[in-house]
């Protein structure tokens, strides 16, 4: 190989490599240059094409384009959106203007890395044709989930209530008015319905640990668990409220409340038992009716009641999570994204969302199976808290690496309450030491 050939080969190798590496960061030709009118909104979605929400969005895109002339260039990315999005944001000229995603996730990823644009100005915008601002139409609890350091980075359009107690109202019509409000009342109800009346897919850690999270938040109040999770010594968990919550959580497995197979089933086996009336109660989210509908018993009437307070005087917590729109900092189409955010919050679209999930607007109508959730959201006696009390956004990885494995063992009856507390304190201390 001559010297020239070697040089050319080397250049070829490195040019190809450079192309591969920078391939993701080339401008897709948005036409958003200085002084040029940008009539495109590049949107990457958390949904896959064909999901009910994507159908509503498509309808909104068409109407939006017709009304504003802004064409929506959508990528139906699905649940792996964060994995795909991250490499696209390495460029100073991002190729995505807007995404929709869980607002808590936006806080712990896009906001934390400075890639989310402040969309606070949308709150004062009028929802097209309604004479009301975005802020006036949205649930304040939902809106709060997308606000970080006083600014709005995620504008919610859909909510989930993560862990309420669900039952079949056709089988238990009296529970709607006489729902237990304290843990002792709840355990009485469990006792009345008999052993194995509580369904739990215990191999899914968040499902098992949700019992303890709700009890701990009830005992310590909104933000109590978060505060303890941020204690680098772990000793905050030695407070008596956390032990009392652990003892209550351990009662379920200890009294045989869980349906057979709870600790060793493949999801969604036990959830299916509940949907077939083989268990009366289940702690689950507002996605449950849609999830079990294909295999639920005939005539099943979905209803739920808020999680009971640990003791009289403690709070009844309702963990809420939201899915919302975020604009990408530095992207050419941020203004178009803001316009679409306000556009999509029209009541018509929110009513359509209400047929499949809980809308972020308080005045939107919802399907019957979610009526109990919407009622609880409107109930001021039920305290709305962020999912996992905000630990997912504020202390990422703590749940996965410290808390959930121990809480799962506690709830499944594999770890005694006192051991749970001592191991949690120790593990949390070690975890923080590792974080540096």
């Amino acid at each position: 190989m001559t010297h020239t050939t070697r040089v050319l080969a080397s250049v070829g190798v490195f040019a190809t490599a450079a192309l591969v590496i920078t391939g993701c960061s080339t401008d897709a030709g948005n036409g958003g240059g200085d002084g040029e009118k940008n009539d495109t909104l590049r949107y990457m979605s958390y949904w896959t094409e064909g999901e009910p929400t994507s159908d509503i969005m498509k309808e909104a895109f068409d109407a939006f384009t017709e009304e504003t002339g802004i064409k929506v260039d959508v990528t139906w990315q699905g649940r792996d959106l964060p994995n795909v999005l991250t490499p696209l944001l390495t460029s100073s000229n991002p190729t995505v203007d807007m995404v929709d995603f869980g607002c808590a996730g936006v806080g712990s990823s896009l906001v934390a890395t400075g890639k989310a644009a402040d969309v606070s100005s949308v709150l004062g915008e009028e929802v097209p044709g309604e004479g009301k601002t975005v802020e006036e139409t949205l649930s304040a609890d939902a809106l709060a989930t997308g606000q970080f350091d006083g600014a709005t980075y995620c504008l919610p359009f859909e909510m989930t209530s993560n862990f309420d107690i669900w039952y079949n109202a056709a089988e238990h019509p009296d529970w709607a008015d006489g729902a237990p409000t304290t843990w002792s009342e709840f355990m009485d109800l469990v006792g009345e319905t008999g052993k194995g009346s509580v369904a739990l897919d215990g191999t899914i850690q968040p499902y098992a640990s949700a019992w303890y999270i709700n009890l701990a938040v009830s005992a310590t109040g909104k933000g109590g668990l978060l505060e303890a999770a941020q204690d680098e010594t772990g000793k905050a968990f030695e407070a008596p409220e956390f032990l009392a919550a652990a003892e209550a959580a351990a009662e379920l497995a200890g009294t045989g409340a869980f349906a057979d197979g709870f600790a060793a089933s493949k999801f969604p086996a036990i959830q299916q038992k509940w949907a077939n009336n083989d268990a009366a109660l289940i702690l689950n989210g507002s996605w449950l009716p849609a999830e079990v509908a294909p295999y639920a018993a005939e005539g099943f009437e979905y209803s739920s009641f808020p999680f009971p307070a640990l003791e009289k005087g403690d709070i009844q917590p309702m963990q809420i999570d939201t899915i919302g729109f975020s604009a990408i900092e530095g992207a050419a189409g941020v203004d178009n994204a803001k316009k679409f955010m306000a556009f999509f919050l029209q009541k018509g679209y929110q009513d359509e969302i209400g047929q499949i999930a809980v809308p972020a607007r308080t005045d939107a109508t919802v399907v019957d199976s979610l009526a109990s959730v919407q009622a609880a959201l409107a109930n001021p006696d039920v305290v709305k808290v962020a999912a996992n009390d905000g630990t997912g956004a504020a202390v990422p990885a703590w749940g996965q690496e410290v808390f959930d494995p121990l809480a799962q063992k506690l709830v499944l009856g594999e770890l005694a309450p006192k051991d749970f507390i001592s191991q949690l304190v120790q593990k949390q201390k070690e975890w923080y030491e590792l974080q540096g």
Binding site: G12, A17, A264, K266, A269, A397, Q400, P405
Partner: protein, 320 residues
């Protein structure tokens, strides 16, 4: 190529060495000899671009703190130090070891046993297809099927109950889920390795077995003294393939023991899942530096296992 043994190195007018020319080599031969570079170059460029450069980039990334976006901060060996101090990584390493060695032993023991049994069995082609079948099934299907089999009310426990076992094991419970996963991985792989070993066994001339029969060898002795030595080279190669493949086990673990939006319990992570969890956490900022450090450790382990497997299984070539 004996001509290459007598290469001479001519010099130019200034005494500088010129290109080596084999005596008697024509210009056409020379051009032909060089032309391979032209054909190799595209592949080499692609190989460098998609494998070598990303690998070097990963090694560099492992010494940085990087969220996948924003600046990369050089942190030296910090990612490696944190990783080896992290009990989750240590348990992930142990689980990886159990898969590579534990499942490997199970797979080879069953594959050898099946080779021994099937070598002279009538209808072995059909049986071979059947045992190869699990390899063809996508991981998601296997995951669902495995859950169906090992659920508390599943087929396995129903069968055990018919045998009179009132309290069958909780296969998917925290105590047994990893052994159940190991069983699943073995089930997935046995077919492939059996088919490969059977193909090697089929190539062994019948005369060797006839001689063994005349000497009064049992079936096991035939396997031990004829089959195994004559297919040892292939066993050695497949052992390397197993080690590298098992080290990267990912799909089955993830699909079998997690649900949408969640990762499996840290108790059953291997280093591939650990690396994935660093790069794509359920919550929070991606730690590509930590993920790359884990990837580098996997690369070194793969190299070490490959060398080890080749050395342990080294034998003299047998021609037949």
């Amino acid at each position: 190529m004996s001509a290459t043994a007598t290469l001479v190195t001519p010099t130019d007018a200034k005494g500088r060495p010129q290109r080596k020319i084999a005596p008697g080599e024509s210009a056409f031969d020379r051009t032909r000899r060089r032309s391979y570079r032209l054909f190799v170059a595209p592949a080499l460029i692609v190989f460098a671009a998609v494998l070598v450069v990303p690998t070097l980039f990963s090694i560099y990334t492992s010494f940085t703190q990087w969220a996948g976006t924003g600046p990369m901060e050089f942190v030296g060996f910090d990612n490696y130090v944190r990783m080896f101090r992290n009990p989750i990584f240590i348990s992930s390493m142990w689980n990886t070891f159990l898969i590579v060695v534990g499942v490997g032993i199970i797979v080879y023991a069953i594959a050898f046993a099946l080779t021994l049994v099937l070598q002279n069995t009538f209808g072995r082609k059909a049986i071979r297809s059947i045992i190869f079948f699990p390899t063809l099934i996508p991981g998601i299907v296997i995951s669902v099927l495995w859950g169906f089999l090992f659920n508390p009310d599943g087929l396995v426990n129903s069968f055990l109950k018919t045998l009179g076992i009132a309290e069958p094991p909780a296969w998917l419970g925290s105590q047994l889920i990893f052994p159940t996963i190991m069983l699943g991985l073995a089930w997935l792989s046995v077919g492939t390795y059996t088919v490969i070993l059977l193909a090697a066994a089929d190539r062994i001339p019948k005369e060797y077995y006839e001689v063994a029969d005349l000497a009064g060898a049992s079936a096991f002795q035939r396997f031990r003294y004829v089959t195994l030595p004559l297919m040892w080279d292939l066993v050695s190669v497949t052992a390397v393939l197993w080690c590298v493949g098992a080290l990267k086990t990912f799909e089955f673990l993830l699909l079998f023991s997690s649900s949408a939006g969640t990762l499996p319990s840290t108790d059953i992570w291997n280093i591939a899942i650990y690396s994935y969890a660093q790069a794509f956490p359920t919550n929070g900022i991606a730690k590509f530096g930590a993920a790359a450090a884990c990837g580098v450790v996997m690369l070194l382990l793969a190299l070490a296992l490959t060398i080890l497997a080749r050395r342990v299984m080294r034998s003299d070539d047998i021609e037949y």
